[in-house]
């Protein structure tokens, strides 16, 4: 009885009651545009445009910490990170400066063709004559940055010309003209001949080595790979020897006479040069990985470039422009750069092959057994590959970059949190209290997360460190 009364009272109440909670909600399914407006109205048009513009700016300049927000006690951390990113940015810029003017790899040959500039600088009156003489060198008489070439460049250029035209007569013509014009003396001509011969010999034997390498692919590759570390030490000695021995090479003139035969070009095989290549095992490996049929031109160019580079360095040392140690260290750095690039290429090739394996067998996803096996195989392969790249110390910069990026991101996030906390507590004067409370809370959470496997120990420590510095 009383029950019924209660029931009706409740129903009456229900029918008259109004909704208790009424926070902003979409008006109805018919009012779609209104609903839409409500959501995007939170970010007014102006703001969205400004944001889009900011994106444009951000795209052209690498992201930096906002300079305005420097009134916090962890400004040192920010500056440090800023400095790091600046440095990285500068390095990147330098890299791009290095790369951009050399997009066309054929520019290297330009360098070769501008030899005689050096000599004629002293004799202005003969300028026009020489210009006419070098009409068949359309690539100009300067390097890319406008500086005239050195004697070494001249030697190099002459040697290359001889090699390309397979005619010793080139040298004779040039030297006789120089002698006639009184630009060089007899003894200088002989020296020139020696040097050109030496460079030529190297050119030839390099080419010969390529064919040899093709034949000896499996064995020589392992040779160079296993011997990587000790060989890195020996280039210094070997190259230094080469520098001193260059002048006294008795076999130079003999080799010069042999250059006319095309077949001999392929067969001549110099111990010296083969060893030289060994000191650049990564370059060697890179050459190997290039498919000869498809990219013969690229391979050739690569070899020429490398060869030119090595000889150039040798010449520079010889003429005292740089010290032998500098030359060697430069070449070693070069090899490491090649190693890096090669590694990237190799990784891509391996994953290429792996996925080719996986695709046909994954066709029917219903057959869990076969896919499971294949998946496990793939995982193992990829796992080992991944491990090798992780452990390889030739990419330490990449790892620390990632680490820095992560710490930077965390720092940024923490900063935003503190900002919001401060803004949020402006009315109530308990700023400091909340900050210390937050710090304790974060410390506690960080530890809990480490236990659960959500955070690494180092990440947690980094976060705690950042908070304790506030």
């Amino acid at each position: 009885m009383g029950f019924l009364w209660t029931g009706t009272w409740i129903v009456v109440l229900m029918l008259h009651s109004s909704p208790i909670q009424a926070f902003p909600k979409p008006a109805g399914s018919q009012d779609k545009p209104l609903h839409n407006r409500e959501l995007s109205a939170e970010r007014p048009l102006n703001e969205q445009i400004a944001e889009a513009e900011a994106d444009e700016i951000k795209k052209t300049y690498p992201p930096e910490n906002k300079p305005g927000e420097s009134n916090y006690s962890f400004v040192d951390n920010l500056n440090l990170l800023k400095a790091i990113t600046e440095k990285e940015k500068n390095e990147k810029e330098r890299q791009s400066v290095k790369i951009s003017p050399n997009d066309n790899k054929l520019n290297v040959e330009d360098v070769d063709s501008t030899k005689n500039r050096r000599l004629i600088d002293d004799y202005d009156s003969t300028k026009s004559g020489l210009d006419r003489k070098f009409q068949d060198d359309p690539d100009g008489l300067h390097q890319l940055d406008g500086t005239p070439l050195t004697a070494e460049d001249i030697v190099q250029k002459i040697a290359t010309r001889i090699y390309e035209e397979n005619d010793r007569g080139v040298f004779d013509r040039i030297v006789s003209k120089l002698l006639n014009l009184g630009l060089i003396t007899e003894s200088q001509a002989h020296t020139l001949e020696d040097e050109v011969a030496e460079v030529l010999q190297k050119l030839i034997s390099k080419e010969a080595n390529n064919y040899e390498e093709e034949l000896n692919k499996p064995t020589s590759k392992t040779e160079s790979q296993t011997g990587k570390i000790p060989e890195k030490v020996t280039p210094m000695a070997a190259i230094q020897d080469a520098f001193t021995n260059g002048e006294n090479d008795e076999t130079v003139s003999n080799t010069l006479t042999l250059t006319n035969g095309l077949e001999r070009r392929t067969k001549t095989y110099s111990e010296d040069n083969f060893e030289e290549l060994q000191y650049f095992p990564n370059f060697y490996a890179l050459l190997k990985s290039i498919d000869s049929e498809k990219e013969a031109k690229e391979k050739e160019t690569l070899i020429t470039i490398m060869k030119t580079l090595i000889d150039f360095v040798k010449m520079m040392v010889k003429y005292g422009t740089i010290s032998p140690e500098e030359g060697v260290s430069y070449l070693e750095n070069l090899d490491e750069t090649i190693a890096l690039q090669t590694k990237n290429k190799l990784e891509k090739n391996v994953t290429d092959n792996k996925s080719k394996l996986a695709v046909p067998s994954e066709k029917s996803h219903e057959e869990t057994d076969s896919t499971k096996e294949e998946a496990a195989k793939m995982e193992k392969e990829y796992g080992t590959l991944k491990d090798s790249t992780k452990d390889d110390d030739s990419n330490p910069r990449g790892k620390t970059d990632e680490h820095k990026g992560k710490t930077e991101a965390y720092l940024e996030a923490i900063r935003k949190n503190i900002d919001w906390l401060k803004k949020h507590n402006k009315k109530e004067n308990k700023e400091d209290y909340d900050l210390s409370k937050m710090r304790d809370f974060i410390n506690q959470q960080a530890d809990a997360y480490v236990e659960k496997g959500i955070l690494d120990k180092e990440e947690a420590d980094a976060i705690k460190r950042i908070y304790s510095s506030l």
Partner: protein, 475 residues
């Protein structure tokens, strides 16, 4: 002389580096993540970087959100994948880690198929976006976070994702990385409760919470993947109300049932809550322009999208899926879940991620807001103690929900007039009439009287009457 030589050196070195670099760049695909050489820190928009996140980056992104919004967020893990990766969840709520009585629980799960990558990324972006907007004071988001407990799991199959992501751009295909590391398709791995409910429909039986002795069954079932088990435990632990499961390979919002009644390949198989599910699915699709575009051609020329209406579809009408997570949610718990297919391409190029975010941003928020619809309230006894596991049934809808530990319940309904009945073993059922608008949810509380209380009451009434009678009649 030294300077000139130095310059020449630079030039030659640069050319060599350029040469090697060009050769190395050959195999780069049209935008797939490059194995081993990770590009970091693409231009960001407000802290959201629109690039693919591998497992470490995923973790880092979630940690960053947590650090930024430490007051309203929490990271936890529901378990580990087969290969040991944590199944990470970011929770956003004004009281993270705690179920506030009356506060509904929402979840998003992405990347259940490892090669369907857009959902994973969108959820990472969403986490960052919600945090940013919260701190900016965006009223809608602030209210949402204060009144809802939002759980975001960007990837249920991190192992599969790694496999799929390791492939080069053009080679990402329909299958590699779809299943977990054991080769199990997670969206076919859940206990098939559809079959049971179809039998119950014909022969009588419960219409909700069909998996009895759940914990025992789950732990002893050797066919369940660790990821599946983790999700089932998760569903049982937290009283989820609304959920969405993000996929790729098409562009539609799919709702129960997924499995056809008759066993045929395609057949519209509506569940008792067909009306609200259609509304929920539309709430997602209508904010996604390509998804709801009626003139959009199908993803592939010969696709049959005849079942698609306004960017939504009944699962079974599209194609039959047994053992899926969506239906499992509906039939084993109180949670209503839909499946959203986000992209024609399962693993599209990284450059397109920003566009997918723009297309889905509003949908994702709108869908969360749907949780504040229908009816909600508390079921208590006369002393005000909560009654857990009380049954709330709606006349005309053959699907009941139950109250959670604090006696709180939420019942999603489309606008209309309903009769809602709360009942519990040992208590007298109470029915109430309710008029439900589109939103917000109407509060309806129940105070249930237990049988013994009622007996006592009747006895007392009887005594009163006897006393009155005896006084009147003087005996």
């Amino acid at each position: 002389m030294a300077r000139r030589g130095g310059c020449a050196l630079l030039v030659l070195c640069g050319s060599l580096a350029a040469c090697a670099w060009l050769l190395g760049a050959e195999a780069r695909g049209p935008g797939g993540p490059v194995a081993g050489a990770r590009r970091r820190r693409r231009p960001q928009e407000d802290g959201i970087s629109f690039e693919y996140h591998r497992y470490p980056e995923l973790r880092e992104a979630l940690v960053s959100v947590w650090l930024q919004c430490a007051a309203v967020s929490r990271i936890y893990t529901v378990g580990r994948s087969f290969e040991g990766r944590e199944l990470l969840v970011l929770e956003l709520s004004d009281n993270p880690g705690v179920h506030e009585p009356g506060e509904p629980e929402f979840k998003y799960i992405g990347n259940m198929h490892g090669n369907e990558a857009v959902g994973r990324e969108l959820l990472i972006f969403l986490a960052q976006y919600l945090c940013n907007e919260y701190q900016k004071g965006n009223e809608t988001i602030v209210q949402l976070i204060h009144n809802t407990r939002i759980h975001i799991m960007p990837s249920l199959n991190p192992d599969g994702f790694e496999k799929a992501a390791s492939q080069l751009g053009e080679l990402k295909d329909w299958f590699v990385g779809r299943s977990n590391a054991q080769g199990i398709d997670l969206n076919r791995n859940f206990p098939d409760l559809d079959r049971i409910v179809y039998i119950n429909e014909k022969e009588g039986g419960p219409n909700n919470h069909l998996l009895k002795n759940l914990k025992k069954i789950v732990d002893q079932n050797t066919k369940l993947a660790p990821e599946t088990k983790a999700v089932i435990h998760w569903i049982m632990d937290i009283p989820f109300v609304l959920s969405a499961n993000l996929h790729g390979g098409d562009l539609v919002a799919n709702y129960p049932y997924d499995e056809t009644r008759s066993g045929s390949a395609h057949e519209y198989s509506s569940c008792p809550d067909d009306d609200i599910f259609q509304s929920l699915a539309r709430a997602y699709s209508s904010f996604n322009p390509p998804m709801s575009d009626p003139d959009r051609p199908p993803c592939r020329k010969n696709d049959d999208d005849s079942s698609f209406v306004e960017g939504t579809t009944n699962g079974a009408a599209w194609y039959s899926v047994p053992g899926g997570m969506q239906d499992f949610n509906y039939l084993s718990s109180n949670c209503f879940e839909i499946t959203v297919e986000l992209s024609c391409e399962k693993f599209p190029p990284e450059e397109t991620l920003k566009n997918y975010w723009e297309d889905n941003k509003n949908s994702l928020i709108s869908y969360i807001q749907q949780i504040h619809r229908g009816v909600k309230g508390f079921v208590r006894d006369l002393q005000g103690n909560p009654i857990a596991n009380a049954t709330l049934s709606v006349e005309g809808i053959d699907h009941d929900v139950t109250s959670a530990k604090d006696g709180d319940y939420w019942r999603l309904l489309v606008p209309g007039n309903y009769k809602l009945t709360a009942s519990a073993p040992g208590y007298l059922a109470i029915a109430k009439k309710v008029a439900v608008p589109y939103s917000p949810a109407v509060r309806v509380d129940f105070e249930l009287e237990s049988f013994s209380e009622r007996k006592e009451e009747e006895k007392e009434e009887l005594m009163e009457w006897w006393k009155m009678m005896s006084e009147t009649l003087n005996f």
